[in-house]
């Protein structure tokens, strides 16, 4: 359908007025971030998967611009351009169109997103609980009554990883792969294998690097084989990586039991308020215990706000789809005769504003509601 009829438009506006009233009454400042955004933040932050679905074009000066595929990054840009000190607490909400090429699920290419972003909140657990509460209140105000809430907690996983004894560069690589379960498992296995790791076409060279000077070897190899230097990487960079690979072989392999612990944690799922017994069965260290206490604190804050966590579902692996989240993540699915339909999601993303140029760290938590989908569910 090329557009909405008057009745459809009015129904969506009516629903969204109800959503926004909840956010505004809670003291969130209703802003209108730009629709047209510089493309690089989205593309460089998200990689090819989002790029493939983003409408990108070139302005007359040659700059790459895009139609926003989401409103979180535009709200962050708004904040950075308006706040004198980005770490000062600000609470924003918004309502407006976002644009994505349809994926294989045939979602619409333009849709209206409602959401809120809370920057610099002093009490992180209370803010997370409040964002979840406001999301649920908004959905209920619009008429949604049957839904399920799932959440995850990347803070627990990060803490467990920090508590696990291994070289820091291994941790970085594992964290980078958190989002990709299969790659994560393979990497973990390779750390356990130690010297017995699978050999590749460059293993013979790594053998030689282990014995000598990496840079000299790389230079001799390039000169000897008359290889042109293309691809924009320096020899020093290439040599340093070969040295790391040689060093990896000298490291004590990761104990299988430690790897099993990480995998066991990631497999945890169940009713959110009773899940602590599963957390307790995981052998973590001091940081993990702090993260467990944070989790308990968050549940407490939810109850304080009148939410019932016994109705919520926790999954340790939840959030693997959403790359910029750093802590609490959640999703709300409407129950429909055709199965669950995701209508809202959100979470904590403490690194995004720094990545976008903030000179100081800015804690951030937010949510987004897919209003067209919600309307379709309620229709």
């Amino acid at each position: 359908m090329a557009g909405k009829s008057r009745a459809e438009r009015e129904a969506l506006e009516h629903q969204n007025t109800a959503l926004m009233a909840v956010f505004e009454r809670a003291g969130f400042d209703h802003i209108a971030p730009d629709i047209i955004q510089p493309a690089d933040i989205f593309l460089e932050r998200s990689g090819e998967d989002i790029r493939a679905r983003t409408f990108v074009f070139t302005d007359p000066s040659g700059a790459e611009m895009c139609l926003r595929p989401d409103l979180t990054v535009p709200a962050c840009r708004y904040h950075l351009s308006h706040a004198n000190d980005p770490a000062t607490e600000r609470r924003y909400c918004y309502l407006g169109p976002a644009f994505r090429f349809p994926d294989e699920l045939l979602s619409p290419q333009e849709f209206t997103q409602a959401g809120l972003e809370w920057f610099g909140a002093a009490k992180p657990r209370a803010a997370e609980a409040r964002v979840l509460k406001l999301t649920i209140s908004a959905l209920e105000a619009a008429g949604l009554s049957r839904y399920r809430v799932t959440f995850g907690d990347l803070g627990l996983f990060s803490a467990l990883l920090e508590d696990t004894d291994m070289p820091q560069r291994w941790r970085q690589r594992l964290r980078h792969h958190f989002w990709r379960p299969a790659a994560f498992r393979d990497l973990l296995d390779s750390f356990c294998a130690g010297r017995g790791a699978r050999r590749t076409s460059i293993s013979p060279l790594v053998d030689r690097v282990a014995e000598g000077d990496a840079l000299a070897l790389v230079e001799a190899e390039i000169a000897g084989r008359h290889l042109p230097l293309v691809g924009g990487r320096e020899l020093a960079e290439i040599a340093a990586r070969l040295s790391n690979k040689a060093a990896d072989r000298q490291e004590t392999p990761l104990a299988r039991a430690k790897a099993d612990t990480l995998n066991a944690y990631l497999a945890i799922a169940g009713e959110a308020s009773g899940i602590d017994t599963a957390f307790a069965a995981i052998e973590g260290g001091a940081r993990y215990e702090v993260a467990r206490a944070d989790y308990a604190q968050r549940l407490f804050e939810m109850e304080e706000l009148g939410l019932n966590p016994r109705r919520f579902h926790f999954a340790a692996g939840f959030g693997r789809e959403l790359e910029y989240y750093t802590g609490f993540t959640f999703q709300i699915e409407a129950d429909t005769p055709h199965g669950p339909v995701a209508v809202a999601g959100g979470g904590r993303y403490d690194n995004l504003l720094s990545d976008m140029g903030s000179p100081v760290p800015v804690p951030a938590v937010g949510c987004a509601i897919h209003t067209d989908r919600l309307q379709a569910v309620l229709a």
Partner: protein, 229 residues
């Protein structure tokens, strides 16, 4: 009974091999109209029309429902039509026109052997140079699907419609995804295929629309061509 349409490549090696294959199955192709008409009839099986199309358009024509069957490269089919497409299905791998779609990187990247290496490099490349690694290719969808499956995300695709293997030397991209038969073009350009960088072992295929699969003419063609290859 209405006719069904079989699309075959309009020129080149694929067209010749397809004509030979149909001849082996006992059919000949009657081109209609002028010498180089783009329509024809399959003699030996009533009610089958031939559409001569460029190999790269056949998948799209299948997807759009403009033809019922098509012979094309598996690389082109998989690029245009996702594996779980509800309307179009690969029916027979015909065997001719073998070629691999591969991920290749500069040979001077002595520290890179696998897709996992590429993923690590992507991170440090971004930190050092402030931009993403670029992959030159005409296979956007195959590349995206394969890289996602291998857990590599920090890259960008740049369009390449010809001489893809020259992109790294020209400074247009660092990596390529391209089709290769012997690998000699890659070697001549000082590029190497990653150990786990074969995206697809392609050859010519017969594909068809699911809605047409029960048609007796389609059943017969499918049987005959499966028997030969």
């Amino acid at each position: 009974m209405t006719t069904i349409t079989l699309a075959i490549p309009s020129k080149g090696r694929l067209m010749e091999a397809t004509a030979e294959l149909l001849a082996k199955a006992g059919f000949t192709i009657d081109r209609l109209g002028a010498e180089r008409g783009y329509r024809g009839l399959l003699k030996g099986l009533d009610g089958v029309e031939i559409a001569f199309l460029s190999a790269s358009e056949i998948a799209q024509n299948l997807r759009d429902g403009k033809v019922d069957l098509g012979v094309t490269g598996q690389d082109l089919l998989n690029e245009k039509i996702p594996p779980d497409d509800p309307h179009v299905e690969l029916l027979v791998r015909l065997g001719f026109g073998p070629a691999d779609v591969v991920v290749a990187v500069p040979e001077c990247w002595l520290d890179v052997a696998t897709m996992a290496d590429l993923d690590e490099i992507a991170e440090s490349f971004y930190e050092r140079h402030g931009r993403r690694l670029r992959v030159a290719t005409k296979y956007h969808n195959l590349t995206r699907r394969f890289f996602a499956e291998k857990g590599v995300t920090g890259y960008r695709i740049v369009e390449s419609l010809g001489a893809t293997e020259g992109a790294p030397a020209a400074g247009i991209a660092e990596i390529i995804v391209d089709i290769t038969t012997t690998g000699s073009t890659l070697a001549a350009n000082h590029l190497k295929i990653l150990d786990d960088g074969v995206i697809l072992k392609s050859c010519a295929v017969l594909a068809g629309r699911r809605a047409a699969l029960a048609d007796p003419r389609v059943v017969r063609l499918r049987e005959l061509l499966s028997g030969i290859t």
